[in-house]
């Protein structure tokens, strides 16, 4: 019926086909060159990205799938994080993943396909299914070191908590559907206002639905208090997957959240509709995330756990932009996630390489890194400083935007809290820098990352700096995405 618009599915379909091709290729060609499949996966992502440029704009199935600017923006983030995760995986693919390399890359691609569908979904069912497609491959990927107890334990935790959250989310979605009789976000939006206008009230069921949905998506976001799984899973999972989890999967949560709340339930963002407003709930959770994430990160000794807590805190900042529920807020969230992609993926890439070369995830072992591997240390420093929000790096502009949105929306207390915790966060970020630069120790041998890894790091650094100094392009794009929502 909308056949002419089917072309907007081309990027997703292509990525799916690449995944299939990888599965088949891996079966057929018996892994002579372990890198080959990786390059195919990278090429698949790259081509998908190019296809995305040509095939976007338009809706399918009554808006069930809409390839709008918001989705394109996030799809770029997903593809970027998948690209960097796969790039980083080269470091471990030769050693730790002896078998099923094809499946490993293929599952990453499938998960990315799920994210892409999710980001385009304007309907609860598609959204839910897309979310599951995102998550289920990740369950497998987290447990991919099958003989490693940590990895398996992480897989179990991720699976149980994930499925649990999925059920909670589903319960919430069902209530939302029940209250409005529609699964389309537009329908939900209209019907809720119709109900309110007709009956003069909506009732606490909406609270139930909203909290359940927040809890369900909060799992993906690792938003406090639904974050408990994150440190364990981040620690146990293969490091590139951890990076992918912390960026791609989070971005998926972010867009799901923004679709449902900032679009469908926008009327309930402020306390006009008290007590049916979600703004204050998210604000509380965001502040909890910033406090708990940042403070707990202070004393972590494992870099992956530290980054886990850091990313818990980071999502708190994102949520500040989200509660603003404004053009600026959405733009800020988009920009934030975009920079976060580079910074966090970069940091995890470094953690991957470091672990691969030294077999350690301990922050203590980063001591003196600047002397043996200055490039490596400098990259890490830039990533960490960007995460901390120090100008002129991208992280600063991102934080600025988020806080601006918060202030604009009247959440001054939240912004002050966020800023205070940002100061706290600097302490643990700086702690690693301190280790790398101020420590008198000199590591035995330099770490020589592969050319690809260097390239990825360089791209990440360049992105952080360039878009920190000239945020215009990305920010305009992100502002453009906000037009998807009618504020």
């Amino acid at each position: 019926m909308t056949g002419s618009n089917l072309r907007i599915l081309i990027p997703e379909v292509f990525l799916f086909l690449s995944a299939l091709f990888i599965f088949a290729y891996d079966l057929g060609i018996k892994r002579k060159n372990p890198r080959q499949i990786g390059y195919i996966a990278l090429a698949g992502i790259a081509i998908t990205g190019i296809l995305l440029i040509f095939f976007h704009g338009g809706i399918l199935y009554h808006g069930m799938f809409s390839s709008d600017s918001l989705s394109v923006f996030f799809k770029i983030i997903f593809l970027g994080s998948a690209f960097m995760a796969i790039g980083a995986s080269f470091e471990i693919a030769s050693e730790k993943i002896r078998n099923h390399r094809g499946e490993y890359y293929g599952l990453i691609l499938l998960s990315t396909v799920g994210m892409m569908f999710l980001s385009s979904a304007n309907e609860l069912l598609t959204l839910y299914v897309g979310l599951e497609l995102t998550t289920i491959p990740l369950y497998v990927l987290v447990a991919y070191y099958k003989d490693d107890k940590l990895s398996v334990e992480a897989g179990l935790k991720y699976l149980i908590v994930g499925a649990f959250s999925s059920a909670i989310l589903l319960y919430g979605l069902s209530l939302l559907y029940g209250m409005t009789g529609s699964t389309y976000l537009v329908g939900i939006k209209i019907n809720l206002s119709v109900i309110f206008l007709t009956y003069g009230k909506i009732g606490p069921g909406l609270i139930l639905a909203m909290v359940m949905i927040i809890a369900g998506i909060g799992f993906k976001l690792a938003l406090v208090p639904f974050h408990m799984w994150a440190p364990d899973v981040y620690q146990g999972a293969p490091t590139p997957i951890t990076g992918f989890l912390s960026v791609g999967s989070k971005a998926a949560g972010v867009i799901a959240f923004s679709r449902i709340f900032v679009n469908g339930l926008i009327a309930f963002s402020t306390d006009v509709m008290k007590p049916l407003d979600w703004g204050i709930i998210v604000a509380i959770l965001a502040s909890a995330a910033m406090i708990i994430g940042n403070i707990t990160a202070l004393r972590q000794r494992n870099i992956k756990r530290m980054l886990a807590y850091s990313s818990i805190a980071q999502i708190g900042y994102v949520m500040v932009g989200m509660v603003a529920a404004s053009t600026m807020g959405v733009a800020a969230v988009g920009y934030y996630m975009f920079i976060y992609l580079f910074a966090n993926m970069g940091a995890f890439t470094i953690a991957t390489i470091f672990n691969d070369k030294t077999g350690s995830d301990d922050i203590v072992n980063y001591a003196g890194l600047s002397k043996s591997s200055p490039f490596f240390a400098a990259c890490m420093t830039i990533f960490l400083l960007s995460l901390a929000g120090i100008p002129p790096l991208g992280g600063f502009v991102a934080k600025y935007l988020v806080f601006a949105a918060g202030i604009q929306a009247g959440y001054t207390w939240l912004v002050i809290l966020a800023l205070l915790t940002a100061v706290v966060s600097l302490y643990y970020y700086a702690n690693i820098i301190k280790m790398m630069y101020f420590s008198p120790e000199t590591p035995a041998q330099p770490i020589k990352p592969s050319l690809l890894a260097r390239l990825i790091l360089l791209i990440a650094v360049a992105g952080i700096i360039f878009w920190g100094v000239f945020p215009g392009t990305i920010l305009n794009f992100a502002t453009e995405t906000a037009k998807v929502f009618a504020f």
Binding site: K157, P204, M212, P225, M228, D232, I281, I284, I295, A297
Partner: protein
Amino acid sequence: MLENTYLIPFYPLLAFVAILFFTRWKERLSSYISIGMVLIALVHSLFVLAAMLSRHGLPMEKAIPFITHPSLHLELGMYIDPLTAVMLMIVTIVSSCVQIYSIGYMHGDPRYSRYFSYLSLFTFSMLGLVIANNFFMLFIFWELVGLTSYLLIGFWFEKKSAADAGKKAFITTRIGDLGFIIGILILAAYAGTLNYQQVFEKVASGVLAPGIITLAGIFIFCGAVGKSAQFPLHVWLPDAMEGPTPVSALIHAATMVAAGVYLVARAMSLFVGSAEASTAIAVIGVITSLMAATIALVQNDIKRILAYSTVSQLGYMIMALGLYGADTALGHHSPGFVAGTFHLMTHAFFKALLFLGAGSVIHAVHTNDIQDMGGLSKKMKITATTFFIASLSIAGIFPLSGFWSKDEIVATTAGHPVFMFLALTIAFMTAFYMFRLCFLAFTGKPRVQEKYDHAHESPNTMTWPLMFLAFLSIGAGWVGLPWLSHGFSSFVYHEQIHHSEPSYILMLASTVVALSGIGLAYMIYYKQRFSADALAEKFKPLHTLLYNKYYIDEFYNIVIIQPLLKFTDFLWWFDAHIIDGLVNFVGWLIIKWADIKQWFDQYIVDGAVNGMGYACMAGARLFRYLQNGSLQFYTLIVIGSAVGLIIYRVTSRGFIYYLLGASIMVLIRSIIRTSGMEKASTETNVQD
């Protein structure tokens, strides 16, 4: 030449710069440059004096802007009037003498050149101070004088006492300057200008409220108190004798300490606006004078005696000026202004002579203690003679210069019996202690033979200035002879010429007092009719008190300095521990929170799950192995907080119940676990 008076300070400055940067390595040349420049200044000053005389004291003023502001206009300029001209003369003459004298005195000193550069710098500062046309500029040079005196007092800085003395001098005078600055601030704020003439006009025209004038006057006088070593800030001057003796002569007799008197004289138009301030000045002056004179009675250090004598004489002048201010404010006539300035001049010469003479003695015997001297007149004729002349002059014996000026001061006190009595007492004591010094040092038998044997007359460079100054000590007073058309008082006066008629009774009285002082000293120390020691023994408490200078230094040390140092230590501790501690504490708290959270996870959370007793249990590790359902704890948190949020939004009261219930649950859980420990452990065993 008058227009170029501003050049006068620059001659020595030039010498300073030249020595510092160019001729420091050539000692002779350095001293010659320095002396040459000061002589040029002297000549120039002479011309200025002449010009001033020829225009009958008509002042002239010239200024360039320093900083221009709508509310305040600061300038650098010169204001030449007879007072200035006389001061220029005093400074250049004494400075020249001292510098020439120093050639001999400082001979062989390793920092010879630097000494002369400092002297030049000092002369520059002093001359600048003198020609200033406003309080701001005065203050600038005032401070520079302080600096150079610091450098010169501490010249032999290897000696700890010298370095200490320099510091003490600087800081003590700075305390006075504190008041000076405040006075200037008051003037700037209320008068809107710091120019002498403009300020005085405002005082005279009544623009300034009397209270303000009093306040400003007293505060400005604080500066003079510091610099002129008046009570209670006199403590630095005796210590300052640690410097080379010529320096003492230059700074602590003739010039720098006179700056305070000069300030009072210069600002007289301000003080006459306030009888209160003037009276305060007079009282301070007389107290200082009396106190210093009494102390000087019992000291044994030759330079210290002279130092206290200086303090005393300065107090004398201050008293005269204060009385003049008070009298004029009340509409009476008074010769005080002339008396003060006149005495300033004569005192400069004979005190410089005394110090230089003392320097000559010290140079010869290498001791400061007069008890170790004796009979030196035989070996040091010129020194002894000139010293005696100066002593007579300071004692106020006719017709030496001191007689005339002192007489005028006594005349000033005519309307104030208490002051007069005290003034005469001081005159008596002055005569006594000066001749005590003379007799002990120059007459009688040598008490320490080896020192005596070693003694010799000083070289010519040192004796010539002595003789020249002796000449001045004798004759300088004659410019003020009442019978010679009141030369001085018709030249240097305040607002209107006022000649005091010579009061022969007073002259007689003061001469008698002076002579009796000399006589007493003669009896005790020359004829030795009475034993000085016996007297000291008889008045032991008094003697001890005087000998220890009224314990003022100790008092300051105990009451101000030590507490201050203690306080700074406390503050430092406070800063490092409390303020910084507060900051660190917050940081610590935040970090600790992470620990607490970890601890919480470890003990409370685990404890809630495992049971609180887990820590107490012997088989804790085994038990822990069984338990810690962290995964399910995560889900518990997820759903628990979701439910909490729902209840929170639906009903806030329910939320409280919910929280309460949850915490009770956790509590009960822990209690149960603690008590039900054994059961759990048996189960563990079963599984294993």
